[in-house]
Symmetry: C2
């Protein structure tokens, strides 16, 4: 699982900071999450192949999370893309994008599918044979979802030595990989655990931005491998965080602790603080495993 | 008159090239012309004060000329702007911008005025005591205008020595600056030319992008001091220029020659050519005074 942060600063793009966008590579799938202005340039800078992006998830319709979407869609068309592109985002995203395409009389060269979200409950919005994506309803000034990316459990690994010892025919291997027990010709039942090893446990990544401190998300993100949680402010600005429905670094860490996640990645920093290490330092007073997201950083988990 | 090129490359923003946007400073007024994605960052890079921008002109609704507009408008609001902002652009620009503001529930802190353009004739769209702005109807794949920025004629300069010699009272000075003759007490008429000097001639700047080669614009831009004319292609791609309703460098130079302008600035280069000097070289075979626009360049005229 590989997370590339294209941008993780709040509010307006600046010469050295970019608004929210990130690329998650999981089970060989590439997901683009949020799309602030300049995302297409950040994709180029970080050498992400445009052609590998087939699914874009938009958390909410504040500009710093989606003003770059129309540019990405248009550029894909200019490059002659033919593969389907799927957009998942709040109701309204389709109207905005299609209005712009209509007024510029520049329709896409590929099929564009909008999956508009309206539910306030967590729901499955994407599923294929390797990955499931669910929404994480967040509390912000407008309708907002985080996203939970879950690998599907891998097959169990065949214990080659054991199956050969029992003289089990190759026709039964898939059944073993699927977790099934085997009955030998003499009627003996061999339990699956004796014929296979546990697979690599599936990984889960939770993206939570933007949101006020909200314990309601804990059951959804419980024990994820990696939690990206917004930390717009420090505790010294807790009142401002509350007012604007953002979180502090300490609050992000508290969610990480209570959800018992393995790793917390911080982001969506207000640019009022000169040094982003202050967010990590504050979070580490609550939760030990904290990484500072930063534009252009790439984490492998 | 000062022209700052924020971006002058065609189509998609890239790591080292920006789509169309420029800032014209004329008679102490600052005009933002076109607004491709990333314009707000380019404004910061080029140290253009956001607060000095009160009028934004959008030539047409292709993404490389206006996807950055919503970001500029939003950022002005985030910074707490209170001064009116005027947007001049094709019909539809108001709907796009207001829809995005509505869906993000982020209204501006200032008054936003839209001046939507629909005419196919040149018309005055802005006028104050120093500057007039007129449209230049262009021929492109969608409704497009160039813009002509004209300084108003300055007052004539008082010939102090002459007015003192004639003992003319200070009360008549403004009349002389306005070009009026003076009748002395004895009935003698003193012609204005004897009492004043010609003012600095007013300057004119014409922005023409995007457009196919179109001689119909020549009467409007006749003898301007500076013509910015798009040169997306070289003559070797003349057929492609014709098909996409763009111009070649040679065609831009031909317009400059026939309109007898003083200075031609090229831009809107296709990124297929490695070196933008090739555009200047081609244009100079037709017209001598050619400047290569480039991102971050600033010309004073």
């Amino acid at each position: 699982m590989k997370l590339t942060i294209l941008g993780c600063y709040a509010a307006t793009p600046r010469t050295i900071t970019n608004p929210t966008s990130q690329v998650l590579e999981i089970k060989n799938r590439l997901f683009l999450i949020d799309c602030g202005e300049g995302t297409q340039v950040q994709l180029r800078k970080n050498k992400v192949k445009f052609s590998k992006i087939n699914h874009i998830f938009i958390s909410h319709l504040h500009g710093d999370h989606f003003y770059g979407l129309i540019g990405v869609i248009s550029t894909f068309a200019l490059l002659g893309r033919t593969t389907d592109l799927h957009i998942y985002g709040p109701k309204g995203v389709k109207e905005i994008i299609t209005l712009q395409l209509k007024l510029s009389n520049s329709w896409t060269t590929y099929n564009l599918f909008f999956h508009e979200l309206e539910s306030n409950e967590s729901e499955v919005i994407f599923e294929d044979n390797r990955v499931v994506v669910k929404t994480i309803p967040l509390k912000h000034r407008i309708y907002t979802n985080g996203f939970l990316f879950e690998e599907k459990p891998a097959e169990r690994k065949l214990n080659v030595e054991a199956v050969e010892n029992y003289n089990i025919h190759i026709a039964y291997y898939q059944k073993i990989k699927n977790g099934g027990d085997i009955t030998l010709d003499d009627g003996t039942v061999i339990e699956n655990e004796k014929l296979s090893f546990d697979p690599i446990p599936p990984q889960r990544y939770a993206f939570c931005s933007d949101t006020v401190y909200n314990e309601a998300i804990i059951p959804i993100i419980k024990e994820v491998d990696v939690l990206y949680h917004e930390a717009t402010f420090l505790e010294s600005e807790a009142a401002l965080a509350q007012k604007t429905l953002h979180s502090t670094a300490k609050e992000a860490a508290t969610i990480a602790l209570k959800a018992n996640v393995k790793q917390l990645v911080l982001g969506h920093y207000s640019t009022r603080y000169g040094d982003i290490n202050v967010f990590k330092q504050e979070a580490e007073t609550i939760f030990p495993n904290v990484l500072s997201g930063d534009d252009g950083t790439c984490f492998e988990f």
